[in-house]
């Protein structure tokens, strides 16, 4: 693992995270937002594992596993919601969904 330092991995993770965040903030399509969230989760995983590796602790990887399980659960529910939404108003434009405003 020559010159590969923790910095590299963290930079990668930061990059992925920021791209994911941009995706969430700029896109209007729920699906895209969803994917961006997955991306951000993935970024976190990278940094977790990187830390695990450089701090000689397995905990990083275990946490990554849990992150993945959470991501899975979240995806399931999220997609379910999308289904209900499309049935209701056949558009995934997030701005039109402002039921929360009441």
């Amino acid at each position: 693992m020559g010159e590969l330092t923790l910095g590299h991995f963290l930079t990668l993770s930061a990059l992925l995270f920021v791209i994911g965040m941009l995706g969430v903030l700029t896109r209007k399509n729920i699906l895209i937002i969803f994917m961006s969230i997955e991306l951000m989760l993935n970024a976190v995983n990278v940094s977790l594992i990187a830390f695990g590796r450089y701090l000689d602790s397995i905990a990083g990887q275990i946490f990554a596993i849990f992150v993945i399980t959470i991501a899975a659960a979240e995806a399931a529910i999220g997609l379910g919601l999308i289904l209900v939404l499309t049935r209701r108003q056949d558009s995934v434009d997030v701005t039109s969904v402002s039921l929360l405003k009441e």
């Binding site: 990059l15 920021v18 699906l31 594992i49 397995i58 399931a76 558009s91 039109s96």
Partner: protein
């Protein structure tokens, strides 16, 4: 520049590019595929970090299951039919970019100046090997120290499953109203059911706020739910 660094840069570059692809793709299907590629590259990086088990999990679970589910849903809702207002208001985008860069700068600063202050873990690489490799070690730790979180995680998954099923059910099951006509089969492309029918007749199924007659948004095509599936 040994092999590992080169491979790292390669994988990282592809991952980042495809991630950008996910965000900026016009068509959701393209972004889905981009996401798949990105995840695979990340799996590669895991291997680089000596987390083989996780790389496998990433490939099988994450990419294999979750993203497939994504693709499935995208197909289900016919993305090209869905109207796509993918450009958020100007100010939102600008602010988002600003915040993104700010965050990246901050993280960069942390990474540059940060010093590893965490306590050294008990498992340096030789220890991992002694324990029989990455996967064995994870297995042992997972079911010993982290047993409780593991159970909780399983509970979370259970909830997710139940929720997904319920969300999938057509409303008539919830409202207890026996509908004779249409029955939902997962095979049904739009999952449309009597809800839209009922709404057209002016009887609001659920007292949601009046967002205007569904389907009135001019889509240039026949309204999604109503038109099909009869």
């Amino acid at each position: 520049m040994d092999w590992a660094t080169i491979i790292f840069y390669l994988l990282a570059a592809v991952a980042v590019l495809t991630a950008a692809g996910v965000v900026f793709a016009r068509n959701p299907v393209h972004s889905a595929f981009a996401l798949v590629i990105s995840f695979l590259n990340v799996a590669g990086i895991y291997v680089l970090l000596g987390a083989e088990f996780l790389a496998a999990v990433q490939v099988i679970v994450y990419t294999g299951a979750i993203l497939v589910l994504f693709l499935f849903v995208i197909m289900l809702v016919r993305p090209e039919d869905l109207r796509e207002l993918n450009t958020a208001p100007r100010v939102q985008t600008a602010l988002a970019w600003l915040l993104g860069l700010a965050l990246f700068a901050e993280l960069g600063l942390v990474i540059a100046t940060g010093v590893l202050t965490g306590a050294r873990g008990p498992y340096p690489p030789e220890e991992v090997a002694a324990a029989g490799g990455n996967t064995q070690l994870i297995g042992r730790i997972l079911y010993s120290e982290f047993l409780l979180p593991f159970e909780v995680a399983s509970l979370v998954l259970l909830v997710a499953v139940v929720a997904a099923v319920i969300l999938g059910l057509p409303d008539r099951f919830l409202t207890g109203e026996r509908a004779r006509g249409l029955s939902l089969s997962l095979g049904h492309p739009t999952g449309a059911d009597r809800v839209l029918e009922a709404e057209r007749r002016g009887v609001p199924a659920v007292d949601a706020p009046d967002l205007g007659e569904p389907g009135t948004i001019d889509t240039g095509r026949a309204p999604v739910g109503a038109g099909r599936g009869r």
